[in-house]
Amino acid sequence: MTPTPDILRVDALSVSVRTETGLHPLVSDLSFRFAPGETLAIAGESGSGKSITSLAIMGLLPPPAVRVTSGAVILDGRELTSLPEDQMRAIRGDRIAMIFQEPMTSLNPVLTIGRQLTEAIRAHQPISRAQARAMALDALTAVRLSQPERRLGQYPHELSGGMRQRVMIAMALALKPQVLIADEPTTALDVTVQREVLDLLRDLQRDTGMAIILITHDMGVVAEMADRVIVMRAGRVVEQGDVRQIFAAPTAQYTRDLLAAVPRMRDRAATGSENASFEITEQNQIHDIRFTREHPIARLENVVVRFPLRSGLLNRTTHNVHAVEGVSLTINPGETFALVGESGCGKSTIAKALVGLVPHQGLIEVDGQKLGSLDATGRKSLTRSVQIIFQDPMAALDPRMTVGGLIAEPLVIHAIPGDHKARVADLLSRVGLQPDHADRYPHEFSGGQRQRICIARALALNPKLLIADESVSALDVSVQARVLALLGDLKTEFGIATLFISHDMAVVDTIADRVAVMFLGQIVETGNRAQVFGNPQHPYTRRLIAAVPVPDPTRTRPETVRLAGEIPSPVHPAGQAPDRVIMREVSDGHLVAQD
């Protein structure tokens, strides 16, 4: 490779936060350089300082507490950290642009898309409104947003998450910056949308030759996008190098651990012998499940959940949101049943219906008892056999209660006799925490530990079915791997059945026994893991699997079909219901929706 002049160079950059106990380093001694057209990934888990680094380059560190304490950021020969604010402002958005993680909140809700785009352009170029509008239209067309003309007059809430992220990209790239900083640009998006956005970024980079700093926790995304990688931990560089070298031969122990923790889809196109032995274990599982099929823990038959939308003078129901439409499934004792699908597909609604949090039609049977026929006492005893673990462990724990109090609360509510203190201590050690943690408060724990507390609380009543609703999605990969291992241990130890709800195909592939894929409130494919992942039949399942970023930079990705348009709406006028899919059996227990 011929040496190209650096577009951006970071020299021994240190960023600190001033606290009551003095200066606290957030980023220490970070150096890197990169050339036009290059993609540099900064990878790391939460608290690694990767986002702070990007804000430092942009000169957007929150003043006055956080500031650059030493080092330099040099863009095209110009030092940025000491630049006065008005000169830095001219660079921001023009020479260096940035896109953020949360497309839902990153756009101003009270201004039109057009206004937000044109003001970004007009902040840097002395042109008329009409000219800026024309440029904005070009930018929206470049990010392949449908009906760009119409989007200019729309407000952010009228657009889906994927569309908003395209708008953010259009806004960042309208002025053809030399450097684009993408801070977790696809983390909040569904896998198929993530796929489209990543493809888009790559295409735009090819066209414009800009350099990209990609900040992410997702090693799959790193492998697909980056030329070079910096792995950061606690504000320091752990390892830095070419992407292939980092994945093939990581030198630092932390990088090795990080890569080992990444959930991976099993490689089913592997060599014959591997495949054969794999098939045998899968066969055993099928056998086990058959054995217990007589007494399912939960049985759903033709379950329908609709939410009415009211409007007009008399507040009549004019439309219904068809969240769940005719779902049937059974969960057997001791099995992990995974429900996968993208946001809005109805997977969480099923969890809520199962515990009686939303009204449903159709049959839901838990432990042989029909839900809905139960009186208050029956419902209460039912909650003993089904427990939920939610996505956000911080929001799920009352900050004013001690951990011991939180875990003992279900015991108190259900008036379970016995020594609650001993039970709490036992539960804490089961989930890998110390018994003396019972006296502490939730804020004293890390995210992974909090999720363990939630699991301990869910286990307190010896449930037969555990519902894990995106329970590991908010956790860092290394923590996620440990929590998944814990859930696996609990399954073997207590024989608890788990309904595992997730959007992450790779995670599902590591822990599920059986899988159901949901789309628009209906199951489109179900079967055991080997059937669904090894031999996906429905086009939507295939698209989901193909969209998962693979943490292997040497792999050449097969060109995926780009889906035109958005997922259709689950809202229908009152009295109308969407067409039900008809399932046909392809092999034993493997059902696929017919077209």
Binding site: M58, L60, R89, A90, I91, R92, G93, D94, A97, M98, F100, E102, T105, S106, L107, N108, P109, V110, L111, E119, A120, A123, H124, Y155, H157, M168, M171, S311, G312, L313
Partner: protein, 306 residues
């Protein structure tokens, strides 16, 4: 939109009906006897009885309330017991000064309060913030008559810039309006500060800064409209509290508004006037809230009514 407006107006009518019932009932069970007030101390029991019958006050509650409502539907708010004039005429004469004072007072409190809150939020944690929040705390907790007397003493008695009381020119308006403004501003300053602090932390503010916008554009175009949204709803609710302040301020400054009218009527148990003033105030509050709800969608497209 027309359906929404119709529903809201219907709800408003129900609220006014409820207010009229509760007020009428409270006045009915009140131990004070309006007839004694009219007849005077020396009246014979016969005269008292006559007056009572004449005013229909000997009838049971349901009949009295029914008659009042029936009159109200026809646009008749009754006659004052003591002033022997139609209540509607009395209120019509007193309403313009009160509305003027209200408008000026609300403008004062919004300008003062929102400015203070915004500056405090932008200077969060610094000396300016502390001083402003301390000031707003004093403003919130100072009794109305104290503030008005201090202002009167300094600006009317000592400096002689404004008249001590009365009604007529804009000179007369300044002190009462500023008094009302100071009282409300503390409240708005605190709300505006917390709203603004929250908005300044929002992701879209970071986006706006990352675009390279000037600080002014970020604050006035991006932060302010979002920060002001919760405040607008509060203005509607605030009108009720504001009416209470007006009664006192009108009294202190001799402002010939309905606050004074109400005060005199309460002292003399002049039921038709009390009813009339209460209903007009309730109307103002209901309309204020409706107005706030109708304005919000113009700023916030997310709740635009289809």
């Amino acid at each position: 939109m027309p359906a929404y407006l119709a529903r809201r107006l219907f709800q408003s009518a129900l609220i006014l009906l409820g207010v009229s019932f509760i007020t009428f009932f409270l006045l009915f069970v009140l131990p004070a006897d309006p007839v004694r007030q009219i007849a005077g101390r020396s009246a014979t029991p016969q005269t008292v009885e006559n007056i009572r019958r004449e005013l229909g006050l000997d009838q049971p509650f349901v009949v009295q309330y029914g008659r009042y409502l029936w009159g109200l539907v026809q646009g008749d708010m009754g006659r004052s017991y003591l002033q022997k004039t139609d209540v509607s005429t009395l209120i019509a004469a007193r309403l313009p000064p009160t509305l003027l004072l209200m408008a000026a007072g609300i403008a004062c409190e919004l300008v003062l309060g929102l400015a203070m809150g915004m500056v405090a939020a932008l200077r969060r944690g610094r000396a300016t913030d502390n001083v402003l929040m301390m000031t707003s705390f004093v403003a919130v907790s100072a009794p109305q008559f104290v503030v008005s007397l201090i202002l009167l003493y300094i600006f009317a008695v000592r400096l002689g810039w404004f008249p001590i009381g009365g009604y007529g020119t804009w000179h007369h308006l300044v002190l009462p309006a500023v008094t009302l403004g100071i009282l409300g501003s503390g409240w708005y300053a605190r709300m505006m500060r917390s709203s603004m602090v929250e908005v300044l932390r929002a992701d879209f503010i970071r986006t706006a800064r990352a675009k390279g916008l000037t600080r002014r554009a970020v604050i006035f175009r991006h932060a302010l409209p979002n920060a002001i949204l919760p405040i607008i709803a509060m203005i509607g609710i605030d009108i009720g509290i504001f009416m209470g302040g007006i009664v006192v301020v009108e009294g202190v400054f001799g402002w010939p508004g309905i606050g004074q009218l109400a005060w005199q009527a309460i002292q003399r148990v002049d039921i038709p006037i009390i009813m009339g003033v209460t209903l007009v105030s309730a109307c103002a509050i209901v309309l204020g809230n409706l107005l706030a709800d109708l304005i919000t969608p113009f700023i916030d497209p997310r709740i635009r009514i289809r």
